[in-house]
């Protein structure tokens, strides 16, 4: 079988006792690029966090399967080693740990003890990806995300994506805070990952990212559910017309998660 499959079925998620996701269904296969759009506060980041295993989110119903295996039973690091990756909307700053040391730990975590990546190979690969993403070499020796600008953090997330080479990646607002040039570079990095062994879920508010990364599927989230799915043309329509027409179509008055249709 080429590529992996991530299946999200009827996913319900609570945070601090409040239900945020109310039955999400979504399947992402190797080779496919999906985009999720939707107004603020409709549960997009919650979906991403719940799949990755963020400690604050509680799954109350439903399942997440990666190649048929129960992801929800796995620890966060096991999910990552099983092939999942999440570029976070707000990456943590890790003081005292250089980007390069961190990346080497992440790569070696996927290899057997005694079979660690040779240092020279690691440096060569890293230099190549830094160049590709037009990131200054000095970032490798800077502490991870500490004092990084918003755009630098996003580029660093994509650097990690390229270095770790997951099977399925979720990118949460990877385009927020990027200037035009950075947006192009980041898109270039993501596009380089394309292939039948890589599936991707892109959370974004803007068509401008999708101009560079054409999705195969576009989904709209409201009230903690996927309320509409389509092809790239759906994103164009949202860009042109906003969300009102969908709300009207579905009889939704308030799209945030506190409400029910």
């Amino acid at each position: 079988m080429a590529g992996s499959t991530l299946e999200i079925k009827n996913l319900h998620v609570e945070i601090e006792g409040k239900e945020i996701l109310k039955g999400v269904d979504l399947t992402i296969k190797g080779g496919e690029f999906h985009a999720i759009m939707g107004p603020n506060g409709t549960g997009k980041s919650t979906l991403a966090s719940a799949i990755m295993g963020h400690p604050k989110y509680e799954i109350t119903e439903g399942s997440v399967l990666l190649n048929g295996e129960d992801v929800l039973e796995m620890e966060v690091d096991e999910r990552a080693r099983a092939g999942l990756f999440l570029a976070m909307q707000y990456p943590s700053e890790i003081s005292g740990v250089t980007t390069s040391d961190f990346l080497r730990s992440a790569i070696n975590a996927r290899r057997e003890e005694g079979d660690e990546i040779p240092l020279m190979k690691f440096i060569k690969d890293l230099d190549k990806d830094l160049d590709y993403l037009e990131i200054d070499q000095s970032m490798a020796t800077r502490y991870l995300n500490e004092g990084f600008s918003g755009g630098e953090k996003k580029r660093n997330e994509i650097l990690q994506l390229m270095q770790i080479k997951p099977d399925i990646a979720i990118l949460d607002e990877i385009d927020s805070g990027l200037d035009i040039d950075a947006l192009k570079v980041v898109s270039k990095g993501i596009n380089k990952m394309r292939g039948e062994n890589f599936g991707c879920l892109i959370i974004t508010h803007y068509q401008r990212l999708l101009n560079y990364i054409t999705p195969d599927f576009v989904h709209v989230m409201m009230q903690g559910r996927v309320v509409k799915s389509g092809g790239p043309e759906l994103a164009h329509r949202l860009e042109a017309e906003g969300y009102d027409w969908i709300k009207e179509e579905l009889g939704i008055e308030d799209e945030t998660v506190g409400q029910n249709a």
Binding site: P55, A80, L86, S92, I94, S95, A106
Partner: protein, 435 residues
């Protein structure tokens, strides 16, 4: 608990000890006077730590150690202190109370640089030692432990760099307490004359997990006008050693004294690191890290007192506490009246790894001048679960993620250590202590 304040060694013992080493008369006299004062002086009173019943007075006083013929002829734990591929040129290894190995680059010798054990220095450079020994930095009569130190000093080194001599290669001292019972009453005296420059790094190590003994260390660091001293240390006394360590600097005009201290003892420890910035434009950066584990109790004071105009002081302390360890960090910035334009910044951070550990960071600013800048930050916290989540989301195990966060937390200080091999060795010690 009744405290036994009776001292274990008397006047005749000290006279004999001094005579056997052919010490100058003034030194013998200093010891005997100090002994008298030690009887009556009180123990120091470190803020928030009660040390009244710690053993500072009962110990075995001397032991010799065999010499070694080459640096490659040492146990692995000592070889860790240097890079075997690139052996240090300037090194003194003190084994118990004997010099096991000593060498100094010829060129430096010819320039008048002195780097030798304290007893040799008392013979060969008596006037210089006499000029500085417990005079400008630490006084004999500060409290019982300084007096006891002066009375019973049994080891140490003397570093002297003449005017206008700048040394690039570091000077390294290894104090290896091989005998598990013997006390180390070590005196390190570093003098940098006008416009000179040096890097000195010291390592303390012992292996006495069961046997109880004492380390009483006084270090005096004098930087004359325009001198620059970079001082690094890794203290690694085993659990059986109760340690008092006093490292004090005095900086004159435009002098710089930088400290990077890895305080990795496993036993109870009182550490004072005080720098007096006397001269205008003088600078000190005091960096210290510690890892507390087991039931050990530690008290660290980093203080910089500023008299000099436009002097600059930075204190950075980091501590990791596990198990039932207790650590108090006192950071004290003192700006004296008249020190206009002085700047004092301090940051103390403690990371708690267990519910039972105790950590306390007390930032203190005492300012007697208006025209100054000063700031402090202190925090006691736990490992941030969001950081662990982020690292684990990249496939790193929880254990490894914690290790990264802890090392990262200490790194800003560890990175300051001037010798790469010592930095590496400190990282290894940290590794051993946190896991």
């Amino acid at each position: 608990m009744a405290v036994d304040t009776k001292l274990p060694y008397d006047k005749s013992y000290i006279e004999q000890f001094s005579s056997e080493r052919n010490e100058p008369a003034w030194m013998k006299e200093l010891r005997i006077n100090a002994l008298e004062q030690a009887e009556s002086l009180e123990l120091p009173k470190p803020d928030k730590t009660k040390i009244g019943n710690w053993n500072f007075t009962r110990f075995k006083h001397v032991a010799t150690g065999e010499t070694i013929s080459s640096l490659t002829d040492l146990p692995a734990e000592i070889q860790d202190f240097f890079d075997v591929e690139n052996l240090p040129e300037n090194i003194v290894i003190q084994r118990n109370h004997s010099v096991a190995f000593a060498q100094l680059n010829e060129e430096l010798k010819n320039k008048g640089v002195i780097f030798t054990d304290i007893f040799t220095a008392l013979k060969e450079h008596e006037e210089l030692v006499k000029r500085y020994y417990m005079k400008d930095a630490v006084s004999v009569d500060e409290h019982k432990l300084t007096a006891l130190h002066a009375a019973l000093m049994n080891g140490g080194v003397f570093v002297y760099v003449p005017k206008n001599v700048q040394i690039e290669e570091p000077l390294q001292a290894v104090f290896w307490q091989e005998d598990p019972e013997v006390a180390l009453v070590n005196h390190v005296l570093v003098v940098a004359e006008e416009n000179s420059e040096l890097t000195y790094v010291e390592n303390y190590i012992s292996n006495n997990k069961e046997e109880a003994t004492v380390a009483n260390i006084v270090t005096e660091v004098i930087a004359q006008d325009n001198a620059k001293i970079s001082f690094g240390a890794v203290d690694n006394f085993a659990a059986g050693t109760t340690t008092y360590v006093n490292r004090r600097g005095v900086g004159y005009r435009h002098a710089t004294i930088d400290w990077a201290l890895g305080q990795m003892n496993d036993g109870n420890t009182v550490s004072e690191n005080v720098t007096h910035l006397i001269g205008d434009g003088s600078v000190s950066n005091a960096n210290a890290v510690t890892v507390g584990r087991g039931k050990q109790i530690q008290n660290f004071t980093a203080k910089i007192a500023q008299w000099g105009k436009n002097s600059d002081a930075q204190i950075l302390q980091r501590g990791v506490m596990k198990e039932s360890a207790t650590t108090i960090f006192n950071a004290i910035g003192k700006i004296e009246h008249g020190a206009t334009g002085a700047n004092n910044e301090q940051t103390s951070r403690v990371l708690m790894l267990s519910e039972k550990a105790r950590g306390d960071a007390n930032p203190i600013l005492l300012i007697e001048e208006d025209d100054v800048t000063a700031g402090h930050a202190a925090s006691v916290g736990r490992v941030d679960p969001m950081q662990l989540y982020y690292l684990m989301s990249r496939g790193i195990t929880q254990e490894e993620a914690e290790r990264l966060v802890i090392h990262g937390f200490l790194d800003p200080v560890v990175a300051q250590l001037p010798i790469a091999a010592v930095k590496k060795q400190l990282k290894q010690v940290i590794e051993r202590k946190v896991n």
